[in-house]
């Protein structure tokens, strides 16, 4: 699979995740979301940016339980719950948000 962004072809694996994590740009995130009929809002970006920082620091994509707890700590308890995260990422905050953030599929995602 491949995704066209600004005339560039971005390679995706069979599940739609980036093959080369360094190929990510915000435009790539928008294109990945658009391919699933999602328009990214500031609330989406909060989560995407958080995931990218987490990956930078720990070299892993966090499991959804870890993401939920960490979002609660960083962005407030009203956002650190699965109802809020699923409202943003109905296909699963781990899988879908990590995909848009250009991360691998979360470790511990079974």
């Amino acid at each position: 699979m491949a995704l066209e962004v600004d005339g560039q072809s971005i390679e995706l694996d069979e599940e739609g995740y980036l093959v080369d994590l360094s190929a990510w740009t915000p435009e790539v995130a928008k294109a990945l979301a658009a391919a699933e009929d999602v328009e990214l809002t500031d609330e989406h970006w909060d989560i995407i940016n958080f995931l990218r920082e987490y990956y930078e620091e720990y070299q892993i994509a966090p499991a959804v339980r870890v993401l939920t707890k960490a979002v609660g700590k960083r962005l407030g308890k009203d956002k650190g719950n699965s109802k809020y995260l699923y409202s943003l990422f109905p296909y699963g905050p781990g899988k879908q948000a990590c995909k848009y953030a250009g991360l691998p599929k979360p470790t511990g995602c079974v």
């Binding site: 620091e57 720990y58 070299q59 892993i60 966090p62 499991a63 339980r65 870890v66 707890k69 960490a70 700590k73 470790t107 511990g108 995602c109 079974v110």
Partner: protein
């Protein structure tokens, strides 16, 4: 699902074989099942959690920072054998500062590393219901 005491025993250096990385991945996956997980570091396994690892020369991914995420996964018991450190000229100061955050105590950082001597390590192992050795 009932909770069991799981221990992952790490005996090998972080690079050169795939054991350390495989162990870490299984540990992170096991956390999804909400079991009572602890890790043991002994023999060359103590090198897995040393500070200042640099893999540039061998062209492999440096995954040492991932151990710092263990606290987020509710893995708070990292038993390190004193004798293994001493035999390698290491002290606890050579190890990464691995902590977990206590949500019920205003996210206070608490140490995850528990230093034990060989006899204490044997006792901790004897308490386990499932032991996986890497």
């Amino acid at each position: 699902m009932s909770t069991k005491k799981f221990m992952f025993v790490n005996r090998k250096a972080p690079y050169g074989t795939v054991y350390a990385l495989e162990s870490l991945e299984v540990v992170l996956i096991s956390a999804a099942f909400e079991q009572d997980v602890s890790l043991a570091f002994l023999d060359d396994g103590v090198y897995q959690i040393t500070k200042g690892q640099n893999t540039e020369g061998i062209g492999q991914k440096n995954f040492s920072s991932t151990y710092k995420a263990l606290g987020d996964y509710e893995i708070k018991k990292l038993y390190v054998e004193k004798e293994s450190l001493e035999e390698r000229g290491l002290t606890p100061d050579d190890l990464m500062d691995l902590v977990w955050e206590d949500e019920d105590d205003d996210w206070a950082e608490k140490p995850s590393i528990i230093l034990v001597d060989r006899a204490e390590m044997a006792d901790v192992m004897a308490e386990q219901e499932v032991t996986l050795s890497f």
